[in-house]
Amino acid sequence: MLRYIGQRVLATVPVMAIVALFVFSLLYIAPGDPAAIIAGDQATPDDIARIRESLGLERPFLVRFGEWSWQILNGDLGTSIFTSLPVTALIAQRIEPTLSLMLVTLVLAITVAVPLGVLAAWKAGTWIDRLVMAFAVFGFSVPVFVVAYLLAYVFALELDWLPVQGYTPIANGIWPWLQHLILPSVALGLVYIALIARITRATMLEILSQDYIKTARAKGLGQRAILFLHALKNAAVPIVTVIGIGIALLIGGAVVTESVFVIPGLGRLTIDAILRRDYPVIQGIVLLFSFTYVLVNLGVDLVYTLVDPRIRY
């Protein structure tokens, strides 16, 4: 197992190298000029040219890529063009809100979606099943920002139960932290609840028609034991796969959610950096996200071994 983990971690190195080259090249050829944004709208072309020169943006591709690669190898993601702050510091400022949002969303999605999917499969064809599936269709269909606005309207403005926006670090207390994450997590989690519930239902339906389930029933096992001990465990591999994909997708969803709820996370940092053409920040974040994707995939593969004893590495 350890050998497998080591091999997988080592395999991330060429992946990250390809991602780095790809991202750097893409940004190099993409239109846009941070110097023009820094200089402001009233700046003259001469001003912009001087700022470009001072930022080193006129240097050849290979020189810039070589310099950046060397920095990466030394554990330095570079310095933001706009803030003059290290990219690692900017990421460190923003990582807690994003991780918090993802964690609460995932917990919410799994705890709601898996029982819903199991329930729908158990009651297949009944009004309960149809209600759950209607909810899933709703979750898939309504954009995150619409859900976000509606939640803010009802629970913040109308009922005054929760804040409209912002983030409080967990160090300030669990409730203040959670209070700012409930609405964003529900808004972001809806689509994942829908996704996981549908997959759970479909997989459970297949499992529930297997002979060993019939045997379990014939032996007099209770419904709860059949559903959660025998069926769900065997349905876990596709569910875990979808949850893994969901974690990756959450990163994208966080961009919109963080913007609407004014959460100072990595999603907003990414958008701001792209709009301003803050190349070092974009490159740093993309590398971080890529690394996260690789780790999530590795994590999912390892969880397979826990839920399915036939899988061995």
């Binding site: 846009g32 023009a36 001003d47 706009f82 926006q165 907003r268 940092l269």
Partner: protein
């Protein structure tokens, strides 16, 4: 009757209810003000980066030698006195006593001299002064002199103006930074300190009161007078989404929103806890620029044809909707309601005439060359204007190549001088703060000095003569005459196409008082009750 659902309806619905409601306890102390600025404070060097948001934050942290008041008159600020020699060539200035930087070191003449050098390298008026400068040097700790080779009557305006870059005073060691590189230390001379450790670029900036600041005794008026801070702490909360900012203001989670979009203003006005008023009486001027270097707009007749066909009301309605209080026609280039405003030569913009425009196009020999019209879609002002222009050009019979892009790309592409087919452009849209357009001093967009001009590179000697006549003018009558000539020449040559004058709102909770209208948010004199 058919009802349509448009952007405003949806925003109105999503902008959330307007009726008053109790606020969840988000209360910050009465000495802390939470402010939503117009955009992200992504950097904090007001000389290196001249975006308005940087200037606005910098005005809290750094003081200036002079400041314009609400009548646009320069008033002494850090300066105690000044003297100009009878030949107008030597200016001698003296600092007020007791001025301190935020590290509690005294503000000295050497700091001022170095700050002025850095500012002058980036500012249009500063560059003009530098061009005639013989000496800029300290005399003693509180005095310095500026010796010129010929008089510069607008010296005090240059040092007082609120257009970016303002001549903010920094410690000498910081001001020694290359003006094209960013400073990394934020030691101010103004009434508030910048709390760097609390700065989350893109999310939050924090300012706390500097106890060592010595305000003037006069009443505050814009950048002039006593900058008395009644707040201990000001938090800038960056909110990219207007609907969220609206909801946060209604819920009492923020206290003051600098620029609510006009779609949400009716909702805010209906909330009894919120006050709404015009933000800046100097407003903004919408514009699109044509590239004078390449066909078809290298031909003045074709530029005139576009101006003849233009209907400013179309543009303004697209920008501000049905609120007539927010716009007015602008037959010229300068800010209405200011002392030297002129409409001379503006007839072409007062009456749209498509037939005359088509005739001009035919006379100019337009043969259907494509017009590459670059429109930033991520800026509501440029997007709205671009849509109107595309329609206008099509009505005239021009061949429009509409390039929908973002502001970052527009910023790069507009600087490209190559022909449009090789990555250049024919037209792009923007807008100018009215505060920048009250006279030619910092109004780079109206200059027509060819290669050195702003994007589009107009080369119109008559316009430049108007500019230099204004600089040389010794009285208001002389300035007005110069402005009449300048406006006329700029319209005849079509330096750019003004699409109208428009205003915007600001909104704040009613427990906040002391907010004034102005070209930037002024925090001195602002207070808040619990």
């Amino acid at each position: 009757m058919a009802h349509s659902i448009d952007r405003r309806t949806v925003l109105g619905a999503l902008g959330l209810a307007a009726f008053p409601m109790p606020a969840l306890s988000q209360g910050a102390s009465a000495k802390t003000l939470r402010f939503v600025p117009q955009s992200n404070l992504a950097n904090f060097d007001p000389i290196w980066g001249t975006q308005y948001v940087v200037r606005n934050a910098a005005a809290l942290v750094w003081d200036t030698l002079y400041g314009v008041d609400e009548t646009l008159t320069p008033q002494r600020q850090m300066v105690e006195s000044e003297e100009v020699s009878s030949d107008g060539l030597t200016w001698t200035f003296k600092l007020r006593e007791g001025l301190k930087f935020h590290d509690n070191t005294p503000v000295l003449a050497k700091d001022v001299v170095q700050s002025l050098k850095r500012w002058a390298a980036r500012d249009p008026m500063g560059l003009m002064i530098t061009a005639i400068q013989k000496e800029l040097a300290p005399i003693d700790d509180r005095s310095w002199k500026w010796v010129l080779s010929r008089p510069f009557p607008k010296m005090l305006l240059a040092l007082a103006k609120n257009n970016a870059p303002c001549s903010f005073i920094m410690p000498e060691r910081i001001a020694q930074t290359d003006p094209f590189k960013q400073v990394t230390e934020y030691i101010g001379s103004g009434p508030m300190r910048f709390v760097r450790e609390d700065w989350v670029p893109g999310a939050k900036a924090v300012f706390t009161r500097f106890e060592g600041y010595v305000p003037r005794q006069e009443k505050a008026s814009w950048l002039a007078g006593g900058k008395n801070m009644l707040l201990d702490r000001i938090e800038w909360v960056i909110m990219p989404d207007p609907a969220t900012a609206s909801a946060a203001l209604q819920n009492g989670e923020v206290d003051w929103w600098e620029n609510p979009i006009s779609d949400l203003v009716p909702l805010l006005k209906r909330n009894r806890n919120i006050a709404v008023d015009i933000a800046d009486p100097l407003g903004n001027i919408g514009s699109f620029r044509m590239n004078h270097l390449h066909p078809p707009f290298d031909n003045v007749k074709i530029r005139r044809a576009v101006l003849t066909a233009l209907n400013q009301e179309d543009y303004m309605r697209a920008l501000v909707g049905s609120d007539d209080a927010l716009w007015k026609p602008l037959p010229g280039f300068f800010t209405p309601g200011t002392p030297i405003y002129t409409e001379a030569g503006g007839e072409v913009l007062k009456q749209r005439n498509i037939a005359a425009a088509k005739k001009l196009l035919a006379e100019a020999g337009y043969k259907g060359e494509p017009v590459i019209c670059v429109v930033a879609q991520d800026q509501p002002i440029t997007k709205s204007q671009g849509d109107i222009t595309a329609d206008l050009l099509k009505q005239m019979g021009m061949n429009v190549d509409f390039v929908a892009t973002d502001w970052g790309t527009t910023g790069q592409r507009r600087a490209v001088k190559t022909p449009p087919a090789q990555g250049g452009w024919n037209m792009f849209h923007t807008w100018h703060a009215g505060a920048d357009c009250i006279n030619p001093s910092s109004y780079t967009a109206v200059r027509a000095n060819g290669d050195k001009a702003w994007f589009g590179w107009p080369d119109l000697p008559e316009v430049e003569k108007g500019v230099s006549d204004w600089f040389e003018a010794k009285d208001l009558a002389g300035e007005k005459a110069a402005m009449d000539r300048l406006n006329t020449a700029a319209l005849e040559g079509v330096v750019y196409a003004p699409t109208g004058f428009f205003l915007s709102y600001q909104a704040w909770r009613k427990n906040v008082s002391g907010i004034v209208k102005g070209p930037l948010p002024f925090f001195w004199g602002v207070s808040k009750t619990a």
